[in-house]
Symmetry: C2
Subunit: 706 residues, 2 copies
């Protein structure tokens, strides 16, 4: 891990490519450093000048007679390599390449970027960019940047650090936050990410004491596992990550390809990763602002029971409408709470939730009553958070109310938030009071509900992370098979044998080889008969499966039939024999499997079986490995989930066993990630007692043990 | 229909309940009328005063020696009835009751509200309220209101009329619009809606020349059919309705019950109605602002092909991400278009969509180039709308660009919109230029995409409305059955017989009565055997159905078995006989049905059959009657829809026939809406050719012909 200390906090900066021509990136950087009062050394570089904006200007990096922490390169693409070589000679540790004309511009640029990276690697230089807006350290007035980052409005200091692949769109997030008076620590636009990438920077920011929350925009990552790890560490240290994933649709991916040429992974895998790490996905600019405000207090609801207090019934309805699909509900207040509220809420109001204080309640004279109302509500053990509607009561009333709210909120372990649709100027004073107390103020009840839902989920992810560390899993121990010898193809029998040892129950099968086609022992009628061949992946399609075989006579003819069909449809296939399996009834069919993704590594997928699985896309996934609690969450996300509880009078099915099987599968896939390319268990029957894999296929890596 | 002319545009207003006490609603109304310069007569009423704020004050309504168009009542609840009686004597046509203390306050209030309505009905008085904020006519400075409606900020004149059941939350919509410089015509808060309701007011606004677009917040309506009709008329006259439905979740509904005690219908039915009328559902305050801006130009994309032009690849990705789930896609530009763009777009930019003009392009010197770029893009027949990103290029550049955009947009039949995340003050001039040309300016690419998607869907609804008028339906003519004689229970045989005559194909059945239990003719094996009794609704559960009956011998025993089972499980049931039906294979099972809802009338529902239907809630509904195009839309909304196109090598199924069957069912349900309470067709098989209802049940109204 690199903390990038002298990258983000450089003691000296050389800027190559300053010029009197308007708009040159290097000039913008130098001017921003000067005007913002950067305290370190600034070395402008341009052989044509001896002075630039009052600073001594150098002919080349090599002319600078001092240690340089950071070189900012803003010359045209063709000139970048020579400058980088000079940096290498001078042992410069960090370089920001603002210039475009690399990978994004065609074959010549691809070659140039490759050469640049090779030089940097050889010299131990770490590069931000190329083709980027650069970065700024708002606390230390470092501006290794150009364009919007160096222009008005100036960001104020704060605890948010932004890392973005897209400078243009990413910085618009910062501007929206600035408009809402949110302050920043670092703002970093990474462009092509030829060397330093978003994930590495987030990792470094976890170690930065001034960074309290991380905001990121990414179009893709080449290493999903690194993102998973950094996400888990962020959760552990309590620094929330708010992440916008660009390029999530076909259209988006297409536009991504023409933009920074990033590798875009599957959105489903990203979303699984977000769930496993508590990363908060953002999809709108105003959400970014709302969620940053919400996280400022670092208080998370223990559950989804919300109390709403205000003067508009309509607003409470809108709050409830927006919260319910996000997992929130209106808390049931205790009798004691309602009794205490009765003493401070007017008769024409309501002391049940939503609590109606009645119009005009917010006033200086009602301060004590309001304080009591808030305190008794927060004290109710059935209330996880409180949301107040600061209605349009004019400036004096809202200020008086905000004073009380801010005071009570400070001492409360439960989150308190406010929404108000009053005009900005009417609640300017109230806004300031609330912001100072880290009480978020939202512009609508629905946005308040969504922000509280995000806090609730984040709190749950924190608790879950503390509980479930890999290693404490209750999943069965995985197989000790040495899989290096795999030939590249595994039959159903081999696959089930391996999975069985990995802790996944499989149907009782008897493999009949050519030599002894006799009746199976230990199986009860009816049975299923299947051809066994590593060369036949889809047995059903070629007539290689017979179900419902009821007696020895039917068995004999079934065996003959599947053999004949295999011979007819796949004459070249190597036939290992015929498998006779116990026939499963009274279960529900799931499909479970593993995709060993290039970016995300092994991912476990589960879905409803049969025709609906494919067509209705009822599936859920998580990155392996995980424990049975995560397995249960996956099942809970399926639309077919209610069926497992026993539909139409049928018995409830064994969700525990299914959860454990998924965890076992995830552990197996993780431990054999170098050897396993894909796994399909289809179907995985969930029974009233236990689960059974009735068919399975493990596809090894093309080059095992690579 | 009532145009409420002298309600919303009164020539004289009496206000009962003025007082020097601070905050009295009547006083607020009079002062708002005076300070805003209302041109008509104002008559304050309070026996304690002879003058109020410089106006002559009257002792009672009866003391006013002139015709009064509108009386505003702001006295406490107990005093309302006497005032209303005085209004009746004076033949006052309209009254606004601001006072609370009616239905929402308990049994006494319910009785008071009933008495008030009776007096009004008898006297022909129309009432707004009670328990409401009242209304304002912003064009004529009418303020029959109190509270936030009469306070700062003053709304500016414009073409938006707001009708809201919730004064508090509803007016927050107006405030958000005011902040975005959107102007208003009428703002009406209806409260308890004891007489005049939201739907009637929307209907009146359709006839108001100054109202161009209608914004509404409702928690419930007692007459879904009236809303359907007014929605269809609004679509026909081209006045968009933006509607926020509060109380859509269980939680929301619960809060609703304690608020205005409105009757809340099913949200699914509302959403079906919105689709059938082009009503735009809003669920966020900022959406309200975005969509109002978007509708201002009255131009709708012909389809979902969007061109995006700007300088940030990231923003284009975000636009595409947000648009795709809403039905938008990035247009493929014609070769000709790209060639023409090459002449005006810098080499390092992109002439394919999204079009990258490159940073710094927006400047006074590039005016002509920008104009050409926009014009050739809009001229491309494959482009339905254009969205420009006004990046953060400073004030001069954005103003120059806005001038060009505004000019070209005026002459374009296709919608042009702009998004920008630049700080407000940097684009203040650009904003004004764009607003003057009705070019909407959105704060993010995703919000631009969502607004364009709404315009696209509204345009499609307009075209659909012109095409499909009820009466031109291709659905089969409905049954002429006289259903008045129904006894309250219908057997499967009777139900299928009736539906068959209504144009819905049913399985070939033979009903065997006690007398002649002989083999059926005209049926091919296998067959299904079912008990027939109006007293047994769920035949399968009692063993009253045998499927796959293969020969005469099996038939004989099947008949005996279902009779025995019926006798055992339902000894009291009247048995009409046994039905032998053709067994359907190779089809997909749907469930189709009708719910005759108290609020919405007959609604047709269709869903996937079998266990998945119930558990996965895969269904779609529309208000009857409708034609087969709407039937097809319903099927298209089902998650199981791909199965109908032929899954896993199976033949495609007859979607046309299924659509026609739904249309026929809808027509039948509509024509017999006074007699039919419920219809279930389960299953409705969709076959490669045609559809077949294999079982059906019609539940008549408890009191037929009521």
């Amino acid at each position: 891990m690199n903390d990038f200390k002298h990258l983000l906090e450089p003691r000296s900066i050389a800027v190559v490519g300053v010029s009197d021509e308007a708009g040159r990136p290097g000039s913008q950087a130098v001017r921003a450093l000067i005007s913002n009062g950067y305290k370190g050394q600034i070395y402008p570089v341009n052989p044509k000048y001896t002075e630039f904006d009052g600073l001594k200007c150098y002919g080349a990096v090599s002319d600078i007679d001092a240690q340089i922490d950071l070189v900012v390169i803003g010359v045209p693409a063709k000139g970048v390599i020579p400058v980088l070589k000079a940096c290498a000679e001078k042992s410069v540790p960090y370089v920001v390449v603002l210039s475009g004309g690399f990978r994004e511009s065609g074959p010549e640029g691809v070659e140039r970027e490759r050469e640049m990276l090779a030089i940097a690697r050889a010299a131990g230089i770490r590069i931000i960019g190329p083709n980027c807006l650069g970065f700024a350290n708002i606390h230390s007035q470092v501006f290794a940047a150009f364009g919007s980052i160096t222009r008005e409005p100036k960001l104020k200091k704060g605890g948010v650090s932004l890392v973005t692949q897209s400078g243009g769109f990413g910085y618009s997030l910062a501007l929206a936050c600035a408009d809402a008076d949110i302050g920043f620590r670092h703002v970093i636009a990474t462009g092509n990410e030829t060397d330093v990438d978003t994930v590495q920077l987030i990792e470094a920011l976890l170690g930065d004491n001034e960074t309290e929350i991380i905001l990121a925009y990414i179009e893709g990552t080449k290493d999903g596992r690194a993102l998973l790890d950094v996400g888990k560490r962020a959760l552990a240290v309590g620094k929330p990550i708010l992440l916008w994933k660009g390029g999530v649709t076909e259209e988006g991916a297409r536009a991504a390809a023409s933009h920074t040429a990033s590798m875009t992974g599957s959105y489903d895998f990203y979303r699984a990763l977000f769930k496993q790490t508590g990363i908060v996905e953002i999809r709108e600019i105003h959400e970014t602002v709302d969620f940053l405000k919400a996280f400022a207090a670092k208080k998370y609801p223990a559950n989804g029971a919300m109390a709403v207090m205000g003067v508009s019934g309509g607003s409470a309805i809108v709050f409830a409408d927006a919260g319910e699909p996000e997992g929130l509900h209106l808390a049931n207040l205790a009798e004691q709470t309602e009794r205490l509220l009765t003493e401070v809420v007017p008769n024409i109001g309501a002391v049940h939730n939503p609590i109606d204080l009645t119009a005009g309640y917010f006033s200086a004279s009602n301060r004590d009553k309001l304080r009591t109302a808030i305190e008794v509500t927060l004290a109710d053990p059935g209330v996880d958070a409180l949301c107040l509607n600061l209605a349009t009561t004019g400036s004096a009333g809202s200020t008086a109310a905000a004073e009380v709210i801010a005071n009570v909120a400070k001492d409360s372990a439960k989150p308190v938030c406010v929404f108000s649709s009053a005009p900005r100027d009417q609640i300017a004073d109230a806004s300031r009071l609330l912001a100072a107390a880290a009480v978020p103020l939202f512009p609508s009840p629905s946005r308040a509900a969504k922000a509280l839902a995000v806090l609730t989920r984040y709190g749950a992810a924190r608790r879950e992370a503390k509980r479930s560390e890999y290693g404490e899993s209750s999943a069965a121990p995985s197989s000790k098979d040495d899989l290096r010898g795999w030939a590249g193809k595994l039959s159903e029998a081999q696959s089930k044998d391996i999975l069985s040892r990995a802790g996944i129950p499989v149907t009782r099968d008897v493999l009949l080889s050519d030599a002894d086609d006799s009746l199976p022992e230990k199986l009860s009628w009816p049975v299923v008969v299947k051809i066994v061949s590593p060369d036949i992946a889809h047995k059903t399609e070629i007539g290689g499966v017979k179900v419902g075989v009821r007696d020895p006579k039917e068995l004999e003819s079934a065996i003959a039939e599947v053999r004949a069909n295999a011979q007819f449809h796949a004459p070249e296939a190597q036939i290992e024999g015929v498998m006779v399996s116990q026939m499963v009834k009274d279960g529900f069919e799931l499909i479970a499997g593993v995709v060993n993704d290039e970016v995300f590594g092994p991912v476990v997928v589960v879905g409803a079986g049969g025709i609906y699985a494919e067509l209705m896309r009822d599936s859920s996934c998580r990155l392996a490995p995980f424990d049975e609690n995560v397995g249960r969450q996956m099942l809970d996300e399926l639309r077919c989930r209610p069926i497992l509880d026993g539909a139409r009078g049928k018995p409830a099915l064994d969700v525990d066993a299914a959860s454990k099987a998924l965890a076992a599968l995830s552990r197996f896939a993780w431990e054999h990630r170098d050897a396993v390319s894909e796994i399909d268990i289809n179907p995985l029957f969930v029974l009233p007692q236990g689960v059974l894999a009735a068919d399975a296929l493990i596809v090894p890596m093309p080059f095992p043990g690579h």
